[in-house]
């Protein structure tokens, strides 16, 4: 381990290390930031959901969007894989289908950054029961 010889050194080190705790820090108030859920069942992964998830993880950070990216199970839209659900703070979640890297890029630039909808939205066709909060 190299020595920390000045306060500037320590500050630099903190910035380097901070991203390691990002996931935990963001989890403190997830409803205030963008939440992206990627459907990662067998069918989703086979259609490239893993690449899409990595893209979101990497790009959201690179583009300075505070977001939580998690994986979830099959959402039931097998015809439209890969599918993702995006929840902006204070809004209802929106599901997007056929998400390749190009569409993922659009979702970040348009929907997440400006709230403008993009192609590929899958209308909600069900209601869920809410486990007691």
């Amino acid at each position: 381990m190299s020595k920390i010889t000045s306060l500037a050194d320590l500050k630099k080190k903190r910035e380097e290390l901070k991203s390691g705790l990002d996931i935990r820090i963001k989890a403190i108030n997830p409803e205030t930031i963008v939440q992206v859920k990627v459907a990662m069942a067998t069918c989703g992964i086979a259609s490239g959901a893993k690449t899409v998830m990595e893209f979101f993880l990497e790009q959201l950070e690179r583009r300075n969007v505070a977001a939580v990216v998690t994986q979830t199970g099959c959402m039931g839209y097998c015809y439209a894989e890969p599918t993702i659900e995006v929840k902006l703070p204070g809004k209802d979640p929106v599901v997007f289908g056929f998400v390749d890297l190009k569409r993922a890029d659009q979702i970040i630039e348009k929907y997440i950054k400006t709230g403008e909808l993009v192609d590929g939205i899958i209308p909600m066709n069900y209601q869920t029961i809410d486990l007691k909060e």
Binding site: T5, L10, S19, I23, R24, K26, L57, K132
Partner: protein, 597 residues
């Protein structure tokens, strides 16, 4: 560093550690390895979450899922269901004690809702064995700030203005203590961390050292700079092996980074920390006794003055602070005195960590702003009394504290309110008592502890407490009189006034407060020879209810001393002079025909 998308935090505090949390970590890692997920999911062993009641705890981030009572064999299901398929494992979720509904997000748990975590900010959040995670959480920034931007006097002023008072129990102003140590000139001074946590039921110091050891190291260095000391010593009991282990790792890592040692941050300031082990004597939590123990002498207190700030360890000026006091210091430095003093009550600032134990649903470690009421602590955070029983009292401050009753439930907790109510803050142990607890036996129980832990140096504590204990024993056996109650009170007052150190001066507190708040119960023991809570065996009588007894002889056959007589199909009779009150007959009787009075 690879890009993780998920963190699994596994509690590695002593409680969860004992329930195989190490094996849980191993199994989780094995499962992730087998499923090829090692690069995207990270498993981290953390310090105590405070929710010891339901350990071991596994928390999944970023979705805040809080799994309780996890077993090593559950690892596979967590990985298969939650991580791969995104479905929470409902069977392992925490259930609301009232509605019995599973709570999926830990933020909705009553236990965490009212808490404000300053001292415990990193416990259960970072890996205590990795200094990098502490640095990522602004660790050692406060030390950097004081060394490069502040004079020692300025640091002391901030600590003084923050209103922080010693969390070891006495509640003395931390800043003032530092100032006294600074003003005594000497070629060498010492900073001592008192980690000799001895109150039965208190485990906050251990949890801080196990969960966030660097916060204490950093604060000790800040204190060293402020008072002009370059040596730090942590006095810790050998009964805390995990805390010792983590401290050793933390000290080594800090030294390797140059955050402890010579010329820290290139400022020319030197500070290093060593460990000193205690053998686990209650009296060594008293600062003069602690210092003697560190010097290799008997752990006995001496009269103050001289205070340690004048002549402490090796006769040099020494500043002794408790673990919890230190752990808040870096936050106070970074966020300022004003911020800290905005939390809490007029004379008690900031937050306090409490260890909840006894007849309460959520046994564990909590941190709340000063001024939170006992009712909020017991019924909202603590989840109420176990098995739906009735609340009777709460012993705060351990065996040196007092027992508060229902009428104190809405008292805002702070140093002065607790004293006014007849108890003390102490280290923050809270033992909750329910309707089945006898207040004479409880007082006897706490005195048993002080009698055993008394160092024997002064007569009031050595002899007086022994006599108090004997008197209480007699009352429990039905051999007490009303005069004895007066004797109890008088003797207690004398011991309080004349004992040498804090141990003796506070030891009669449980007796006095319990007599104040539950006097009727004491009178019942001496005049009616009855124990209303049904705990004092000698005062109980086992009686047959003639209406219910069918004469089956089952009780007579099970009685080990042949105290029950009666013909078959006729009402039986228990001879109280032979009965040893073992309770075997009650258990055996199918007709509810035997009761206690």
């Amino acid at each position: 560093m690879s890009k993780y998308s998920m963190h699994l935090l596994v509690c590695g505090g002593t409680g969860c550690h004992a329930s195989e949390s190490d094996a849980i970590v191993c199994n989780l890692r094995d499962e992730l390895e087998a499923k090829g997920l090692m690069d995207s999911v990270q498993v981290i062993l953390t310090g105590c979450f405070g929710f010891c009641e339901k350990g071991p705890i596994v928390k999944v981030m970023p979705d805040n899922t809080f799994y309780v009572q996890v077993k090593p064999e559950d690892a596979q299901e967590i990985v298969d269901e939650h991580i791969i398929k995104g479905r929470k494992v409902t069977r392992l979720l925490y259930r609301d004690p009232v509605t019995r509904e599973p709570v999926s997000d830990s933020k909705h748990m009553g236990f965490f809702k009212k808490q404000l975590r300053i001292v415990l900010r990193n416990c259960g959040f970072i890996n205590p064995e990795n200094i990098d995670e502490y640095i990522a959480r602004d660790g050692y920034q406060a030390l950097g700030k004081v060394l490069t931007e502040m004079t020692p006097e300025e640091v002391i002023k901030v600590v003084k203005d923050s209103g922080q008072r010693g969390r070891g129990g006495a509640g003395f102003s931390t800043g003032l203590k530092w100032e006294l140590a600074r003003n005594n000139k000497s070629d060498e001074k010492y900073v001592v961390c008192n980690a000799d946590e001895g109150d039965p039921g208190a485990f906050m110091d251990r949890s801080v050292l196990e969960g966030d050891p660097h916060s204490v190291l950093e604060a000790m260095a800040i204190c060293g700079y402020s008072i002009g000391a370059s040596n730090g010593l942590i006095y810790i009991r050998a009964e805390y092996p995990l805390a010792i282990e983590r401290l050793k790792i933390a000290i080594k890592q800090a030294q390797e980074y140059g955050l402890l040692g010579k010329d820290i941050f290139g400022t020319g300031f030197n500070f290093d920390i060593k460990l000193r082990y205690g053998a686990g004597a209650f009296v060594c939590g008293e600062e003069t006794a602690l210092i003697h123990s560190m010097e290799g002498l008997r752990g006995e207190p001496t009269v103050k003055p001289p205070f340690p700030a004048e002549a402490g360890y090796l006769n040099k000026p020494t500043n002794v602070n408790n673990v919890e006091t230190f752990a808040a210091i870096p936050v106070i430095i970074l966020k300022g005195a004003k911020w800290f003093s905005s939390i809490g009550t007029e004379k008690s600032k900031g937050t306090k960590v409490f260890a909840l134990a006894g007849k309460i649903n959520n046994v564990g470690l909590i941190e709340v702003p000063m001024g939170t009421t006992l009712r909020e602590v017991i019924f909202e955070i603590g989840g109420g009394i176990r098995n739906g029983k009735k609340f009777k009292g709460i012993q705060t401050g351990g065996p040196s504290g007092g027992c508060l009753s229902e009428k104190h439930l809405d008292t805002p907790i702070d140093f002065d309110n607790l004293i006014a109510a007849g108890s003390i803050m102490g280290s923050g142990a809270m033992i909750v008592l329910d309707e089945d607890d006898c207040m004479v036996s409880m007082a006897k129980f706490f005195l048993e502890f002080t009698v055993e832990e008394s160092c024997g140096k002064c007569a009031p504590c050595r002899i007086g407490n022994k006599r108090l204990h004997e008197l209480l024993g007699q009352i429990c056996e039905g051999k007490g009189s009303l005069d004895d109650l007066d004797r109890l009170r008088n003797m207690s007052v004398v011991i309080k006034d004349t004992a040498l150190c804090g141990l003796g001066q506070t030891s009669p507190n449980p007796v006095l407060s319990m007599m104040d708040n539950y006097y009727d119960e004491y009178v019942a023991h001496v005049t009616d020879k009855k124990c209303p809570a049904g705990q004092c065996k000698s005062l109980l009588e086992y009686v047959v209810n003639a209406e219910n007894c069918v004469g089956c002889t089952a009780c007579a056959r099970v009685c080990p001393v042949n105290a029950i007589s009666g013909e078959r199909k006729e009402v039986h009779l228990i001879d109280p002079s032979i009965c040893i009150k073992c309770g075997a007959c009650i258990e055996k009787c199918k007709f509810d025909a035997i009761f206690i009075r």
